[in-house]
Symmetry: C2
């Protein structure tokens, strides 16, 4: 069996925790591992690492790789040069599998959902595998527990199969009244976006129902490279797999997802998955509360004090605070869109920015200066680089730094400092067993991330 | 005329904006100047600077002085060695006036109230002055506009004076029913804590009604020094001027305060004084809102996004967030008290700590290191000092630093850095016309503020 993990989402509805450049699937929510890592582990129970492909966009590829590499070095990460929704992403990954290996069953899963009962998930997958081997495109349906208007529904037909149902149609997000009818009927399931099929069956159906995707796909040759050509991918239609294949094919079967499932699609669904106290409150982080009810307080860095809140969500991050009525959490996306329109970076990046080598946090900035705290993880190295518009001054806080400046090596211990002049070629490395923390003072104008000339990079960013 | 500004309050109800070491009167609320500075300006319209005394506690004296010095160098600041409520504070200031000058009318005002109409305030003072000269102790009463249960009330008698009323009694904070009766009667006023009297009259009444204060006061000799002896002050009763004199004397008159007045005693009263939009919202700082109503959002450093809030107060500071139903803002004091009990510094100091020479902000701290951004204002100098447990590394961000290290002078420009070894005697000074900003990296254990040995200090802190 093969596994495709879709890891390209932008997660705007969980702002300010998720950001365009560090979305939901990369975050540790309720766990010591990210949703992406948890998704990998769920598949790894029954799919060999070398059969797992993660598909993501060029913006996230470094972070997706560095997270997955912590679990296994065998997972392949495909990088989409442009974001084109799920149909092209799945098509490319399926073609990649067929090019390198034989035809077999493929399981496609989102990377940002929460499923705790991995045993029942595997039982469901086993049922799906049987149907996929019979030539069905299988979708996993979640039995609806209430009339949710934020999900698409799948209508099963009366034709029962051994382990599932034939699907009669896919329906868009319904209004409340319709959703109530769907739930009552017992014939409708939530669309969880999890699919199984034989690779060849999927491509046949794609050819039949979305020839415009298939035609472009035919140009790709993955026999010697995993690279997706930008020029052709640009012409791919931006379309979901539901529209491109599922809603049109008559080979669709549904298997009921037997495990728990939560798409963590809003702060209200995060609330649903958290443990509550006797007043229905979920508090995460440093929270002091008096008399609140049915509220979620999510503190990531600072003290949050709450008094008398009801049905409210409060989320605190290093650079933004969200306070929202719990029944309005779908509108967080509107805030995200406003920020994007205003070119406010708060939608794009966190105050702490993750890089393949570690992370940095901007501490303070002003006219002509900018200060960062930089952590370089064990064994990592920043690119060999120079800057045209800034000089830098580094002070080691903890750990040991190996600095190469204009060809000369320096080993710096806590308290040691070094000046990096304008245009000097330099690199910063941590070849030691302890994380390296340094303070970087930048002086110059303009002070922008883009002022980097890279000469060498162990993460392929030159 | 003389003026006494009471500047000793702790302002726990405006947490997290106010902190024990930087309370309400020192904050810029709705203004480019602090409430203390606005209070000084209000008096300075009709009282000469050299006749104004600010009374504060030893914890706040440096900040009170440095704020008032920006307005005038002639204002005297008295420093109470211990906090003993208003009766001892006023008694000491009155005695100080009588020791140095003659007997005259004294106006006593809190430093943390908001009065915008200074013209009408002066009119009220003029009326009070007449009554004070007739031997009355005058209190300014605020005509109640609703049955507030958080204030004390003053009951006027039927004896009308030319510019006021004789007072029949002071009453404690009433319950709601009683407050309603008070408001309806027209015979009750809110106690605004503003008083006027002849210095000699006040001391006579103090001697009569609170001899335990008067006896200790007699030991103080202010002819050659303004210092309040700790040993005697320790024995002062901790008592308000209302209890000590007002409620007992039969010489009390009330003049109706004709100006606007707000004691800014809670976030709800801050809301009352702010301008509202058409939905009754007051937004301060960087706020993006969707559909909130009758809410106050007070952002001091970060983006606050709010959706669908009603009657809610959200306050964001560098190290704490408060979200509170507007009718529960009195309970902010309970949060403050919890933090104090837990020895959580969030009740005590801001992330940015003000000093006579400028301020510092802790940027990041970890095992064995601590980083600060330090601003030294023009013409200021930190004490000549050394540290037993830490070395320091300074990098200039902007401005120019004069550093003296082990007797040797260094002039440092942006990007320049210097190492201050363990136990080395050093000082940091900004004799130039631009604020000096530096990054300080401390290395050592323990890294505590108290690890300072001071040799010289221009603010008398040796």
């Amino acid at each position: 069996m093969y596994g495709i993990i879709l890891a390209g989402g932008s997660g705007s509805r969980l702002w300010p925790m998720s950001r365009e450049l560090y979305p939901k699937q990369l975050l540790n929510i309720q766990n010591h591992e990210s949703l992406l890592q948890a998704t990998y582990k769920r598949l790894a129970d029954f799919i060999p690492d070398s059969n797992i492909i993660a598909s993501t966009g060029v913006k996230h590829v470094a972070n997706v790789k560095s997270q997955l590499m912590k679990n296994s070095e065998k997972i392949k990460v495909l990088s989409e040069p442009l974001s084109k929704n799920t149909a092209p992403a799945i098509a490319v990954a399926v073609k990649n599998i067929l090019s390198k290996n034989g035809d077999d069953v493929v399981l496609v899963v989102p990377s940002d959902h929460l499923i705790k009962d991995t045993g029942k998930f595997e039982t469901t997958v086993n049922k799906g595998e049987k149907l996929a081997n019979l030539g069905y495109i299988v979708t996993f349906g979640v039995q609806p527990s209430y009339p949710e208007t934020g999900y698409g529904y799948i209508n099963i037909s009366d034709t029962q199969l051994e382990d599932g149902y034939k699907v009669s149609r896919f329906v868009e997000k319904p209004d409340y009244e319709l959703a109530q009818k769907y739930v009552k009927s017992g014939k409708y399931f939530w669309n969880a976006g999890i699919f199984m099929f034989k690779a060849s069956v999927f491509l046949d159906e794609l050819k039949k129902h979305s020839p415009e995707i298939y035609t472009i796909l035919e140009k790709f040759d993955f026999t010697n490279s995993d690279e997706i050509p930008y020029i052709d991918y640009e012409h791919m239609p931006n379309i979901s797999v539901d529209y491109a294949v599922m809603e049109k094919s008559d080979k669709i079967a549904l298997v009921k997802l037997e495990s728990d499932w939560n798409d963590l699609g809003s702060w209200a669904s995060i609330y649903d998955t958290e443990k509550k106290d006797e007043n229905g409150n979920a508090f995460v982080g440093h929270v002091i509360d008096l008399d609140s009810k049915n509220s979620l307080v999510y503190s990531s860095s600072k003290l949050c004090a709450t008094i008398g809140l009801e049905d409210t969500v409060l989320v605190e991050t290093e650079d933004a605070v969200l306070a929202c009525k719990k029944d309005r959490t779908q509108d967080v996306k509107k805030i995200y869109d406003i920020l994007k329109r205003q070119n406010d970076n708060t939608h794009l990046i966190h105050k702490t920015v993750y890089r393949p080598w570690g992370f940095y946090t901007v501490l303070t900035q002003g006219d002509g200066f900018l200060t960062k705290m930089i952590q370089v993880n064990t064994g990592q190295k920043l690119s060999v680089q120079s800057h045209n518009y800034r000089s830098e001054h580094w002070v080691v806080l903890s750990g040991t730094a190996k600095v190469v400046l204009e060809g000369k090596d320096y080993i710096l211990s806590p308290g040691n400092s070094i000046d990096i002049p304008l245009k000097a070629i330099h690199s910063l490395q941590n070849p030691y067993n302890e994380p390296l923390k340094i303070i970087e003072v930048q002086l110059g104008d303009p002070l922008i991330e883009e002022d980097i000339i890279r000469y060498e990079d162990m993460y392929g960013r030159v």
